[in-house]
Amino acid sequence: MIPVDYYIIVSILLFSIGSAIVFTRRNILYVLMGIELIFNAANINLVAFGQFEPYLNGQLFSMLVITVAAAESVVALAIVIVLFKKLNTIDLSEIKNLKEK
C-alpha cells in the first residue's frame, strides 16, 4: 500500500503547478485549466485520506467535486465566450474592468 505521504506530495505538486498556471498565464483558457488542476489536487487529497475511512465517504465526495467542477467549467466557458464577444480578447492583462474607476 502506497503511504499517504506520496499522495500528499503529488497533490501539493498539482496544486503548485495549478497555482503557478493561474498566476502566470495571461490566456484565460490556461487559467481555467490551472483551476482544474487545483480541483484535482483537492480530489487526490480526498481520495488519499478517504481510504482510512471504512465507508469511503471521502472518495464519494471526490466524485461530487468532479461533477461540480464539470458544471463549473461549463459556466466558466460560457462566461469566456461572452467575454470574448464583448471585449474581443481573452488576454487577462487587458481585462481590468473590476478595478474601480
Binding site: S19, S93, L98, K99, E100
Partner: protein
C-alpha cells in the same frame, strides 16, 4: 342604603273606554301643534287660528263629557320601555281631580284661543302663535293626566319650553327676550329639585308611579324614624320644583317679567297652564308632605302672598299688578296645601283660573283699545311713544268700554272675595283650613293666619286701586297731552271675539257655579261631591265676617285715596324702589348663588391655569432633556458609529489600492489570506 333598587310589582292595567277618550283629548293638541308648526305658513291665517280654536272647543266638550261620565278613578298603566329586566311603566289616572282640571284647562284655553283669534290678528309671527299654544295646552294635559313622575317631568319641561317660547314671542324686543330667558332659567333651577325627587323616589321604591308610591308611603311613620327620612326629602324636593313653576318666594320674580308676552298668553299662563301645574303636582303628591316640610310650605306660601300683594300696591303696570296678584293667590294655595286643606287649595285653583283669566282678558281688551287708539293716531301722522300698559295714562274707560268694565268688575269682586262670587267661597275655605290648622298647632301659626287675613285686605286694596285707575275718573292721558283728546273717541268696545270669552269667564266667577249657598262652599257640589276627602272643615261663621270686614275697610281706604287722584307724586320713593326691585331678591340670588358660582369658576380656572403651568414646566424640562439627549446621540453614539465606519473604509480602501483589477491579483490575495488563516490555525493547534 343597600344600593339595590327595591322591586315593587307594578301591575299593568288596560285602558278602558273613558281613559282612551282622555288620551285622545291629550293627543288632539299634539296633532294641531305638528300640523300648524310644520305647515302653518302654507295655511291662511284665519283658517290657521280657527282650526286651533275649533280643536280646542272640541277638546273642551269632550273633557266635559269625560267629567260627567266619570265614576270613581280610572287608572290604566302600560309598559313604556324596557331596559333589560327593568320595566318602565307609564300610566294615566282619571280621577275627579284630573277630569276637573282638564275641564278648567281646556275651557280657559278655549276662551284664550277665541280671544286670540281677534287679539293676535295680523300680528307678527302669527303662524307660530297657535302651535305654541297647542304645545302649551297638550303639555299641561300631560301633567294633569299622567300618574308617573317621569312622564310628568317630561311634560313639566315641555310646559317650561312652551312658556319660554310664548313669553319671548315678541323676541325682537330686548325686554321680552330677557323675560323669556329669566322665566326659563328660574324654572330650570327649580326643576333640578324635581330630578332629585324622582331619583330619591326611584331609589326608595324602584318605581315612579305616583299611585304605587302612595300605597307604600306613610309620611307620618317616615317622620318618626328620621326627620330627614328619604320620602320626606323627596316631598321637599317636589315642593321646591313647584316653587319655580308656581312662582313662590324667592323664585317668583320671573312671573311679573313674564308679562312681556302677549296678554292672552298671560291669561293662559296664570290661569290654566303654567302656574297651575305646580300646585296641581303638589296636590297629587301631597301624601309626601308632612311635618317640617309642611311648615316650610306654609311659611313660604305666607311670605309669598304677603310680599307679592305689597308689591302690587305700588306697581303702575296694569298687567304686572295682576301678575303680583297671581303670585299672592298662589301663596294662598300653597298655604292650603301645607296645612293639608288640599281640596280648598284645588277649589281656589279652579276659581282663580276663571277670574284671573277674565281679569287678564279684560286688561288685555283695554290694552287692545289703547293700541287701537295709537294706530289711529299713527294714521293721523301724530304717532308718539306711549306705554300702553301704564295705568296712570288710563282712566274713564267705564263709559267707553262697558262690557269690559262689567266683566272686569265681576272678576275683580271674585278676586277680592266679595260674597256671591266664587273667590269668596274658595278663599274662605282656605282661611278656615288655616284657622283649623292654627288651632291644632298654636303659637307661631297664628302669625300665619294673621298675615293671611292682612293679605286679604291688601288684595282688596291694590285691586280696587287698579279698578279705579283704569275705569273711573277721567282719561288721564288727555291731561298730560291735550292732543289725545280727539283720539279718546277711538277707545271703544272691542270686537265680539274679544268680549264673549271675557263675559263667559266672568259668568263663571259667580257663586252658583260652585255652590248653591253663596256664603258657604261646604254645601256646594264642588266640595261635597267632587272631592271626597277625610278633611271635614268645620264651618266658622266668623271667618267670612272678619274677611269681609277687612275687605270693606280696604275698599274704603282705596276709594278715598284714589277717587280723585290725577297726579301721581311718589311720597315714599324708598318703598317704591324696594318694590320695583322685587325686594332685591334677584340681587340676593346673585349674591348667594351666582357670585359664589362665579368665584368658584374663577378659582377653578386659576387652578386650571396653575396645573397648565406645571404641565408646561414639565414639558419644557422634557424638551431640554431631549435636546441634551439629541446632542449626545449626534456626537457620541453617531460619532462612534461613523468612526468605525470610517476606519473600516480606510482599511478597506488601503487594501483595495493593491488590486489593479486583474483576476489573478484577487486569486493571489485570496491565497495569501488562506495561507495566513492556515498559519493562524496551526498556531492555535
Amino acid at each position: 342604603m343597600s344600593g339595590i333598587i327595591p322591586h315593587i310589582e307594578v301591575p299593568l292595567l288596560a285602558a278602558d273606554g273613558i281613559s282612551r277618550l282622555a288620551l285622545t283629548i291629550f293627543f288632539m293638541p299634539v296633532i294641531t301643534f305638528a300640523v300648524l308648526f310644520f305647515a302653518g305658513k302654507n295655511i291662511p291665517a284665519s283658517i290657521r287660528s280657527w282650526l286651533a280654536t275649533v280643536v280646542m272647543g272640541v277638546m273642551f266638550l269632550l273633557s266635559v263629557y269625560v267629567h260627567i261620565n266619570l265614576e270613581g278613578t280610572h287608572l290604566s298603566r302600560w309598559i313604556w320601555f324596557e331596559i333589560g329586566s327593568i320595566k318602565f311603566t307609564t300610566s294615566l289616572l282619571l280621577s275627579n281631580y284630573s277630569s276637573t282640571m282638564m275641564v278648567i284647562a281646556t275651557f280657559v284655553s278655549f276662551m284664550v284661543h277665541v280671544y286670540s283669534v281677534q287679539y293676535m290678528k295680523e300680528r307678527r309671527n302669527h303662524s307660530k302663535y297657535f302651535p305654541y299654544l297647542a304645545l302649551f295646552v297638550s303639555s299641561m294635559l300631560g301633567i294633569i293626566l299622567s300618574d308617573n313622575l317621569l312622564i310628568t317631568f317630561i311634560f313639566w319641561e315641555l310646559v317650561g319650553l312652551a312658556s319660554f317660547l310664548l313669553i319671548g314671542f315678541w323676541y325682537e324686543k330686548d325686554s321680552s327676550a330677557a323675560a323669556a330667558k329669566k322665566a326659563f332659567l328660574y324654572n330650570k333651577f327649580a326643576d333640578l329639585a324635581f330630578v332629585i325627587a324622582i331619583m330619591i323616589l326611584y331609589g326608595v321604591y324602584g318605581t315612579t308611579e305616583i299611585s304605587i308610591i302612595q300605597q307604600y308611603t306613610n309620611i307620618g311613620s317616615a317622620l318618626e324614624t328620621s326627620v330627614f327620612a328619604l320620602p320626606v326629602l323627596a316631598g321637599l324636593a317636589i315642593w321646591f320644583a313647584t316653587v319655580g313653576k308656581s312662582a313662590q318666594f324667592p323664585l317668583y320674580v320671573w312671573l311679573p317679567d313674564a308679562m312681556a308676552g302677549p296678554t292672552p298668553v298671560s291669561a293662559l299662563l296664570h290661569a290654566a297652564t303654567m302656574v297651575a301645574a305646580g300646585v296641581f303636582l303638589l296636590l297629587k303628591t301631597s301624601f309626601l308632605l308632612g311635618g317640617w316640610v309642611s311648615n316650610i310650605i306654609v311659611i313660604i306660601g305666607c311670605i309669598t302672598a304677603l310680599l307679592a300683594a305689597l308689591q302690587a300696591i305700588r306697581t303702575f303696570d296694569a298687567k304686572k299688578v295682576l301678575a303680583f296678584s297671581t303670585v299672592s293667590q298662589l301663596g294662598y294655595m300653597m298655604m292650603a296645601v301645607g296645612v293639608g286643606a288640599t281640596d280648598a287649595a284645588f277649589f281656589h285653583l279652579a276659581t282663580h283660573a276663571f277670574f284671573k283669566a277674565c281679569l287678564f282678558l279684560s286688561v288685555g281688551a283695554v290694552i287692545h283699545a289703547m293700541h287701537h287708539m295709537q294706530s289711529h293716531q299713527f294714521d293721523h301722522g301724530q304717532y308718539k311713544e306711549l306705554d300702553t300698559l301704564d295705568m296712570r295714562l288710563m282712566g274713564g274707560f267705564r263709559k267707553t268700554m262697558p262690557i269690559t268694565f262689567v266683566s272686569y268688575s265681576i272678576a275683580y269682586a271674585a278676586l277680592i272675595g266679595l260674597p256671591f262670587f266664587s273667590g269668596f267661597l274658595s278663599k274662605d275655605a282656605i282661611l278656615s283650613g288655616l284657622y283649623d290648622w292654627a288651632c291644632l298647632t298654636g303659637t307661631w301659626s297664628w302669625l300665619i293666619v294673621a298675615s293671611a287675613f292682612t293679605t286679604v285686605g291688601i288684595t282688596a286694596f291694590y285691586m280696587t286701586r287698579q279698578f279705579i285707575l283704569i275705569f273711573f275718573g277721567d282719561f288721564r292721558l288727555m291731561k298730560i297731552d291735550v292732543s289725545y283728546k280727539k283720539f279718546f273717541e277711538h277707545i271703544k268696545e272691542n270686537e265680539w271675539l274679544i268680549n264673549v270669552p271675557m263675559m263667559l269667564l266672568a259668568l263663571l266667577s259667580i257663586w252658583f257655579f260652585f255652590s248653591i249657598n253663596p256664603l258657604h262652599a261646604q254645601t256646594g257640589w264642588w266640595m261635597k261631591q267632587s272631592f271626597i276627602s277625610d278633611h271635614i272643615h268645620d264651618f266658622h261663621i266668623f271667618i267670612p265676617i272678619i274677611a269681609i270686614c277687612i275687605t270693606t275697610i280696604a275698599l274704603w281706604i282705596a276709594f278715598t285715596k284714589y277717587k280723585a287722584v290725577d297726579a301721581f307724586v311718589d311720597t315714599r320713593a324708598h318703598l317704591t324702589h324696594l318694590f320695583a326691585h322685587n325686594y332685591y331678591i334677584e340681587k340676593g340670588i346673585e349674591a348667594v348663588v351666582i357670585k359664589p358660582v362665579f368665584v368658584l369658576a374663577k378659582v377653578c380656572s386659576e387652578t386650571d391655569s396653575m396645573i397648565n403651568h406645571i404641565i408646561h414646566g414639565k414639558v419644557y424640562f422634557f424638551i431640554l432633556f431631549a435636546q441634551i439627549a439629541d446632542v449626545f446621540d449626534r456626537w457620541v453614539v453617531d460619532g462612534l458609529v461613523h468612526f468605525i465606519v470610517g476606519l473600516s473604509r480606510f482599511i478597506g480602501s488601503y487594501f483595495r489600492s493593491y488590486l489593479k483589477g486583474e483576476i489573478q491579483g484577487y486569486f493571489y490575495f485570496t491565497l495569501i489570506a488562506f495561507a495566513l488563516l492556515l498559519l493562524l490555525l496551526g498556531w492555535y493547534l
